[in-house]
Symmetry: C2
Subunit: 188 residues, 2 copies
């Protein structure tokens, strides 16, 4: 396979798997174009996700401390959530920032997206920046959330990374977009 | 909840869910310490993952073009895979680089790890750098893989990001660790 070749894997059969609430599982039987062997792929169908780098007027970042059910630990993260049906990613970003933290902003900038894991997830995570945010409302966490809100300088986030408390991959990719990793690479 | 408070969610009940091959599903019923409401959490139990920033003597990065079953598209990525039972993450990194690309190295450096998604995954993705890599073997892709191998300058990876072909979150976080996003933040 060369770079320009975008070889298709023929889908022989597709089955609906269990509904995991967070995801609808799908099983695809795909024929490998290299050797014609069939593999059964597990795909987790998921709505897109969104997270927000929310910057206060003095350039601090709004963070949430949140107990996470996967790792059973509390981590330092960015406000984030699911793009609900009918919402744009910007609307979801505005809503999640407001619900989780009570912060609002008039200045929104799209930073780009990543694929959380194209091997088995079919969705994107959109990164938004909100500038000059102010805490104008009370947070309204959902039933499945118990959050604490804080603000941190970028230096303090660096410290959180050093000390192993800031480790959600998608919070890293949001910051990589804010700092424009792409330009860093292109000017290297 | 304050930053120092690490409130536990009491687990009322736990059930084994379906085996999805990639993951063993687990359902936890957890009591929210804020309001005592019980939520059913879906946890995907997964081995750790690993990926590799492999640098040639002239500072090019080894990349793979791979058709991904989640998004049904071919993307530009770093060599990556699962840490098999009994392996260290370094052994997995050495093996995946060799199997997927045929490149080997004597110089390995641990860059750190992220949590791919602590909301529902219990695992880590370890990032390794390999320096002065050489293509000493033929790639040996698995049945479920059809890869093409290439090398790219950092500038070219920046271009791939710009053009939307490099978008796997964990490839971004590996590069963020290589470029030490943490120091960038702490010196900002």
């Amino acid at each position: 396979m060369s770079k320009s070749e975008r070889t298709d894997w023929e889908c022989i059969r597709t089955d609906t798997g269990p509904d995991l609430k967070l995801f609808q599982v799908r099983f695809d039987w795909l024929k490998n174009p290299r050797n014609a062997h069939t593999v059964k792929a597990t795909v987790l169908e998921s709505p897109d996700w969104v997270n927000v780098v929310a910057l206060t007027p003095d350039e601090k970042v709004v963070v949430v401390y949140q107990h996470r059910f996967g790792t059973m630990e509390t981590t330092t993260e960015l406000p984030a959530g699911i793009v609900e049906s009918g919402e744009t990613s910007k609307e979801a970003a505005i809503r999640e920032l407001k619900e989780e933290t009570g912060y609002t902003s008039e200045e929104w900038e799209y930073l780009g997206y990543v694929e959380p894991n194209p091997a088995f997830l079919n969705n994107r995570c959109h990164h938004w920046a909100a500038r000059n945010v102010k805490q104008t409302l009370l947070p309204e966490p959902g039933d499945g959330e118990h959050l604490a809100v804080d603000v941190m300088s970028l230096k303090e986030i660096g410290q959180e990374i050093s000390e192993g408390r800031f480790r959600h991959s998608l919070a890293f990719t949001a910051l990589s977009h804010l700092f424009d990793l792409r330009s860093l690479l292109m000017n290297s």
